[in-house]
Amino acid sequence: MSNFSLSNLMTRQDVLGFVVLALILLVVLPLSLDVMRLNQVGKYLSFAFVTVGLVLCWGYGGILSLGQGVFYGLGGYALAMFLKLEASSPENTSIQSTPGIPDFMDWNQITELPWLWEPFHSFGFSLLAILLVPTVLAYLIGFAMFKRRVSGVYFAIITQAISSILTILIIGQQGYTGGVNGITDLQTLMGWSIRTDYASYVFYFVGVALLFVCLFIAQFITKSKLGRILVAMRGQEDRVRFSGYDVANFKIFVFCVGAAFAAVGGAMFTLQEKFMSPSFVGIVPSIEMVIFCAVGGRLSILGAVYGALLVNVFRTVLGESFPELWLFAMGLLFVGVVLAFPDGLAGVYQKYAAPTVDRFLDKAPLFRRWPSSTSHSEPIKAS
C-alpha cells in the first residue's frame, strides 16, 4: 500500500474532475474562443493560482490571509522588472535624457538605475526572484506571527495592513516603481515579442500547465498526513500541539506554498497582460481573491479554479453591459456565499451531483475499479 500511487492520491471523482478541467482548459476553450478571449481566460486563470493557495491556507489551515495580492503583485513585478529592463535598452530609449533606464524613471529625474533593479537584467535571477521573494516574505511574516500564535482575525487584519503598506509604497515611490500606473509597455521576452497572437497562445498553455502543476502539488498536500494535520488544526489547534506537532511550522508551510502559487499567478498575469500595477496588490484585489475562492468552495482545489474563472467571466459580462451593477453583484456574492453556500460551488456539487456521478462511474469501464474514496478522508464541511 504505497502512499505515492495515483489511486491513493485521487479518488475517481478527483480523477474525473482533473480530466474534465483539463479538457475544458486545453481543448474546449482554445477551440471555441478567439485569441483575445482566450488571453482573457488566461488572465482569470492567473487568479486561480491564488485561490488554489487559499484553499490550502484558509480552507484547510484556517488561516485567512487578506494579503495574497502582495505575493501576486511581487511575483508579477519581479517579471515585469525584467521585461521592462529589456524594453528599455539604450537603443529603445535613446530619446530619454538618460537612455537605458525605464521611461518612468526618466520622467522622475532619476539618472541612474537603482541598485534594486540591477539584478533584474538577468532572466535566471528574475525567475528565482518571482518564486523566492514572495515566499521568503511569507516565511518572515508567518514566522513572526504564527510562532507568537497570532491567528484568525488578527492575522487577517495584519495581512490586510501589509497589503495596504505595499500599495502605498509602490504608489508613493513612483520613480522606482512606476507608481500608480505600474510597469507598462513590456515588449519582448529574450528578444521574442510577447505581443503576437502566437505568444498569447503559448502563454495560455504555459499558464494552464503551471496551474496543473500547482493543482497536483495542492492535491498531494491535501491527501498527505500534513493535509490531515491542517484539518485537525483548524478545529483543535491546541490538541494538535499535544499530539506532538509544532503547529506554527505547519501554518508557515502552507502560507509559503500559498504565497509561491500566488507569485506564479502574478507572473503569468504580467506575461499575458503585458503590465503590472499596484491595483493588483492592495486590499481590494486581495479580498476579492478570497471571494473567488469562497465561490468555488474553500475546501476544493478544483472548485477554486472554477470560482476564479466564473466570477471573472461574470464580472466581464456584467462590466460590458451594466458596469454600475458590478459592485452590487459582488456585494451580494460575498453576503450570499457566506450565508447560504459556505462550501461554494464544490459544496453544491458534492450535495446534488456527486451521488449521481458516482453511480454513473460505477458503470463506466474505465472508472469501475478505481476506489471511490482514497484511504484518506476528504473533508467537505466548512468549519
Binding site: M1, S2, N3, F4, F220, I221, S224, K225, L226, R228, I229, V231, A232, R234, G235, Q236, D238, R239, V240, R241, F242, S243, G244, Y245, D246, V247, N249, F250, F253, S375, H376, S377, P379, K381, S383
Partner: protein
C-alpha cells in the same frame, strides 16, 4: 532552595514538581506546590472545584507557563519547553472535555498521533505502511473502537470520544500519562469499561489522574494528593486521605 534542587535532581522520580506557582493577575491558582511521582505509580489528584487541579496539568504539559518553580520529567526541565517538545519527551495529556479531531475518522485520529513524521516534511511524505496500520488497529482494539475505525469521529458517542482520546495518547506511548476526569459524564457501564481499560493501560507507565468519584479513586490509586486553593491539603493512600479531617471538611464532607 538548595535542598529542593537536590531532590529535583534525584533520578528516582519520573516527575518532580517543586515550588510550582502560577498567578493570574495576582490570583494564585497554584501556590508553591511540590509533589513527586514514582516510576509506574498511579497518582490521583482530588479536590473541590477550582482547586487548581487542571491548572497543575496545564503547567506540567506546557499549556500554561509557570510563574515560578520547576517541573522535572526524568531530570529534564519542562517549564522552558513548548507543548510539542514536552509531548515528544514522553508526557501525554487527556483533556477534561473530550478533545479529538471531529473532521477525521477514528483511524486518522489515531494515525495522526502515531509518533512518526512529526515535522513538516516528515508529515508531507509520511507513508502509511503496514507497521502504522497494525499499530493503529491494535490501539483501536484496545479502546474498543475497532468496529468503528472507518467512522468519522464526530459520530461517536460521548463515552467513545473519551476512549478515542485515550487511544490517541496510548499510541504516543508516553512514559507519563495525565488524565483529567476520564470518566466524567459516562454511563455506569461505560464507567466500568473505562476503569477496566485504565487498569490495563496503566500497567507499564506512570499516571496522574484527576477524578471526583471516590470509589473509582480508591480502586485505582497508589497515592492520592488532595488539593485545595492551589495548595496541597493532604497526601497519602486513599484510605488515609479519606479519614483526614481536613479533607472531610473541605471536600468529602458534603
Amino acid at each position: 532552595m538548595s535542598a529542593a534542587t537536590a531532590r529535583a535532581t534525584n533520578t528516582d522520580f519520573v516527575l518532580a514538581v517543586e515550588g510550582l506557582t502560577v498567578s493570574f493577575e495576582g490570583f494564585k491558582a497554584v501556590d508553591d506546590l511540590s509533589f513527586y511521582v514514582d516510576e509506574k505509580e498511579i497518582r490521583v489528584i482530588i479536590g473541590p472545584n477550582g482547586a487548581g487541579k487542571t491548572t497543575v496539568l496545564d503547567l506540567i504539559c506546557g499549556r500554561t507557563k509557570a510563574t515560578e518553580g520547576s517541573v522535572k520529567f526524568r531530570n529534564k526541565e519542562l517549564t522552558t519547553l513548548n507543548e510539542h517538545e514536552i509531548v515528544r519527551a514522553g508526557v501525554g495529556r487527556k483533556f477534561q472535555t473530550p478533545s479529538i479531531y471531529e473532521d477525521l475518522t477514528v483511524f486518522e485520529n489515531l494515525e495522526l498521533c502515531y509518533p512518526r513524521g512529526r515535522n513538516v516534511f516528515g508529515a508531507l511524505f509520511f507513508k502509511r505502511d503496514q507497521k502504522v496500520i497494525n499499530k493503529v488497529r491494535e490501539t483501536a482494539e484496545m479502546v474498543n473502537l475497532l468496529d468503528q475505525i472507518e467512522d468519522s469521529a464526530d459520530l461517536l458517542s460521548h463515552g467513545k470520544k473519551q476512549w478515542l482520546e485515550i487511544g490517541m495518547l496510548l499510541i504516543q506511548d508516553p512514559a507519563l500519562l495525565m488524565l483529567d476526569e476520564p470518566v466524567a459524564g459516562m454511563s455506569v457501564t461505560e464507567r466500568q469499561q473505562t476503569a477496566e481499560l485504565l487498569r490495563r493501560i496503566t500497567a507499564d507507565r506512570s499516571v496522574i489522574v484527576i477524578e471526583h468519584d471516590m470509589q473509582f479513586v480508591a480502586e485505582i490509586a497508589d497515592h492520592v494528593t488532595v488539593m485545595h486553593q492551589g495548595k496541597i491539603l493532604a497526601e497519602g493512600t486513599a484510605e488515609k486521605v479519606k479519614q483526614d479531617p481536613k479533607v472531610i471538611e473541605v471536600y468529602l464532607g458534603h
